[in-house]
C-alpha cells in the first residue's frame, strides 16, 4: 500500500482539486483530508458519512471561581498570557483561546481550584464516496491540536486501506510547512508538491521541498496553471529536478477546475476537459515512477 500526500507550501495552489482527482483516478484508494482547519475535499467527493466521532486533542484548564483565593500563582507561572483576572478582580480565569494546555497552573494551584480536563477539539468522520472510502475531520472553531487530528485521520485511513486491501491512500495536505504539514507527511511513501508559476509559488515550493528532504520522503512535483507563465514554470521544474524531485507534468489553467467545484465533482470526473486530461497523465506518471522505484529497490 502506498500513501501519497499532496502538499504545496502555498495555499490555493490546487491541492484539493488534484487530490480529489487522483483518488478518483486511482480506482481503488482511500482519500484522507488532512487540511483539518479548512477542509474542502468533502465538497467534491459526495461523501455519505457512516461514522462520526469526537476528537479529544488535549486538555484545557478552567478555574473554579468558588475555590479560587485570588493568590495569582497561576498568572505568575503561565507563559501563554492565558490567565486574567475576572471582571470584579477577585478571582482569576483562563482564556481558553490562549491556553496551551500545559497544566502548569492546575498543578501548582495551592487551592486545587483549577480543573484540567480533556476537551473536544473537533470531529472526525469516515464516509463512503463514489470513489472509495474517505476519512475527514473538522477542527473546532479556533481550536488547537491540529497536528494530532491530522495523525488520527491518517491512522484511520491506513486502518481502512489495510483492512480492505486498498492499494493507495491519497492525502489532501494542509498549506504551510509547520505542525499539521509535518504531521501529514512523516512516514508517508511520497509527497506530491503542487505549485504555480508565480514568485510566491516558486518560493514556497523550494521551502516545502526542503521539508520533504528533511524528513527523507521522496518528492514529486507538478506545476498547476503552468501556461500562465511558461518561462517561470520551466525554471521551477528545472530547479526542482536539480534538487532531486521528479517532475510529473503540468496542469493547464482551465475553467473546468472551478466548474468541477460547482458540480461537486473531482476535476478528473469531467471527461474531456484539458485539466482533467493533464491530471490523468500526472497520475499515470506517478504510478509508473512508483513501480520503477519499487523495481530498483528490488534490485538493491
Amino acid at each position: 500500500m502506498k500513501e501519497i500526500v499532496v502538499i504545496s507550501g502555498k495555499g490555493g495552489a490546487g491541492k484539493t482539486s488534484l487530490a480529489a482527482s487522483l483518488a478518483a483516478l486511482a480506482g481503488r484508494a482511500v482519500a484522507a483530508d488532512c487540511d483539518v482547519d479548512a477542509a474542502d475535499l468533502h465538497l467534491v467527493m459526495s461523501p455519505r458519512t457512516i461514522r462520526a466521532e469526537n476528537f479529544f486533542g488535549g486538555k484545557k484548564a478552567s478555574v473554579n471561581p468558588a475555590r479560587c483565593s485570588g493568590c495569582g500563582r497561576c498568572k505568575d507561572l503561565c507563559r501563554f498570557e492565558a490567565i486574567t483576572r475576572d471582571e470584579e478582580g477577585s478571582v482569576y480565569e483562563v482564556d481558553a483561546l490562549s491556553c496551551e494546555g500545559c497544566g502548569v497552573c492546575s498543578y501548582f494551584c495551592p487551592e486545587k481550584a483549577i480543573d484540567f480536563k480533556l476537551v473536544v477539539n473537533g470531529q472526525w468522520f469516515v464516509s463512503d464516496t463514489p470513489y472509495g472510502p474517505m476519512v475527514h475531520a473538522r477542527l473546532g472553531v479556533a481550536e488547537e491540536n491540529s497536528g494530532k487530528l491530522v495523525a488520527l485521520v491518517r491512522k484511520q485511513a491506513r486502518i481502512i486501506a489495510e483492512r480492505e486491501g486498498i492499494p493507495f491512500i491519497i492525502v489532501d495536505g494542509p498549506p504551510g510547512l509547520g505542525c499539521p504539514v509535518i504531521a501529514s507527511i512523516t512516514g508517508a511513501d511520497a509527497v506530491l508538491i503542487v505549485t504555480e508559476p508565480t514568485v510566491s509559488g516558486e518560493h514556497d515550493m523550494e521551502r516545502v521541498s526542503r521539508l520533504a528532504a528533511y524528513f527523507n520522503i521522496p518528492a514529486y512535483l507538478c506545476v498547476n496553471k503552468y501556461d500562465i507563465n511558461p518561462g517561470l514554470s520551466k525554471k521551477i521544474s528545472d530547479r526542482a529536478r536539480a534538487d532531486g524531485l521528479k517532475v510529473l507534468g503540468g496542469i493547464h489553467y482551465d475553467r473546468s477546475v472551478t466548474e468541477a467545484q460547482i458540480k461537486k465533482q473531482p476535476v478528473a470526473a469531467l471527461n474531456g476537459s484539458t485539466a482533467s486530461e493533464d491530471m490523468r497523465k500526472i497520475w499515470i506518471n506517478l504510478v509508473d515512477q512508483i513501480k520503477k522505484e519499487k523495481r530498483e529497490e528490488g534490485r538493491v
Partner: protein, 285 residues
C-alpha cells in the same frame, strides 16, 4: 491618520491575502499614512517578494527548552508526569528530552525538586526587519522542520511601531498560527474568492473571527460579473463586504512576477484606495 492594526486573513489559502495586504500598504502609504507591514505567515512568508524591502536587521528567535543536570537529577519522574507534550521522559537511570515536542511552558523546571532542570534557548527561526521605501516591514522565517510557529509569530507581532497603521498578513487556515496572528488586531479583513472552496472556508473563518469577537468584513477577490456566490453568502450571514476586486488576467500576471498592481495597473489603484477609505470609516465606528 489611520493608526489601527488590521489583520488580513482567510480560511482558504491563495485567495489573495498578500495581494490585498501589500497593495493596501502601498495605497495607505501613498495617501500619507505611516504604515508598518507585518508578515505573520512565518511558514511561507511572501510579502517580501512584492514589497522588496531593504532588510536592516535580523535576529534569531528562541524558545525555552529544558536542560537537565544529570548529576543533580534523582530520577523522581515528576518532570515527565507534568509534561503534556511527551517532551521529557524520565527513565530509571537517564532522562531524555525531545526539544521539538516542547512547548516551553516551564513545567518541568518548576516542578523539579532537585533543581536539576534549567532552561536554554532553542533557535526556531529568524526575524528580519527593514523598510520598503517609507513602509516599515517585518517578517519571520520558520526554520524548515520546525513544527511550532506561534512563538515566532508573537516575536514578529512585537516588532515595529505600534501607533501607525499596522497591516498584518496572516497565514491561511483557522487554527493556532492564525489565532495568534489576528487575536490582538483591531479589525480583520477576510479575503475570499467566489468559488465553492472559497465560500466554505470563508464560513469557517467567519466562525473563528466571531469567536474572537473582533469586528470584521469581507473582501471578495477575483469577483466576476454574474457570480453572486460571495454576495449571497455574506448577506445570509449578515457580514459586510468592504470591497470587490475583479478577476483580471493582468492581476494574475503582475502577481506571477512579483509586481504590485497598485504600481503597475493604474486602473486597479481605485480598488485599494476605496478599500482604505472604507477601512477608515469602519475604524471610526
Amino acid at each position: 491618520m489611520l493608526d489601527i492594526t488590521v489583520a488580513i486573513a482567510s480560511g482558504k489559502g491563495g485567495t489573495g491575502k498578500t495581494t490585498v495586504s501589500s497593495n493596501l500598504a502601498l495605497a495607505a502609504s501613498r495617501a500619507g499614512c505611516e504604515v508598518y507591514y507585518v508578515d505573520c505567515d512565518v511558514e511561507e512568508p511572501n510579502g517580501h517578494l512584492f514589497l522588496k524591502p531593504r532588510i536592516t536587521g535580523a535576529r534569531h528567535i528562541h524558545v525555552p527548552v529544558p536542560a537537565v543536570d544529570e548529576e543533580k537529577c534523582t530520577h523522581c519522574g515528576l518532570c515527565s508526569e507534568i509534561c503534556q507534550y511527551s517532551a521529557i521522559v524520565c527513565l530509571e537511570k537517564t532522562i531524555l528530552t525531545f526539544d521539538k515536542m516542547c512547548h516551553g511552558c516551564g513545567g518541568c523546571a518548576y516542578v523539579c525538586p532537585a533543581g536539576a532542570i534549567s532552561e536554554r534557548g532553542r533557535d526556531i527561526g529568524v526575524l528580519e526587519e527593514g523598510h520598503s521605501g517609507p513602509i516599515g516591514f517585518v517578517h519571520g522565517r520558520l526554520t524548515i522542520g520546525e513544527a511550532m510557529s506561534p512563538p515566532l509569530i508573537k516575536a514578529v507581532l512585537a516588532a515595529g511601531k505600534k501607533d501607525v497603521l499596522r497591516i498584518i498578513d496572516s497565514p491561511p487556515g483557522t487554527s493556532c498560527p492564525v489565532i495568534t496572528s489576528i487575536k490582538s488586531a483591531d479589525y480583520v479583513i477576510l479575503v475570499t474568492e467566489p468559488t465553492p472552496f472559497g465560500i466554505n472556508d470563508l464560513g469557517l473563518a467567519i466562525d473563528m473571527v466571531r469567536e474572537l469577537g473582533i469586528p470584521f468584513s469581507v473582501v471578495v477577490n477575483r469577483s466576476e460579473a454574474g457570480n453572486h456566490l460571495a454576495g449571497d453568502y455574506c448577506r445570509e450571514r449578515g457580514v459586510g463586504i468592504l470591497a470587490e476586486i475583479p478577476d483580471d488576467r493582468r492581476v494574475a500576471e503582475a502577481y506571477s512576477v512579483g509586481e504590485l498592481v497598485f504600481d503597475t495597473l493604474p486602473d486597479f489603484r481605485g480598488y485599494f484606495t476605496d478599500l482604505l477609505i472604507s477601512l477608515g470609516k469602519e475604524a471610526k465606528r
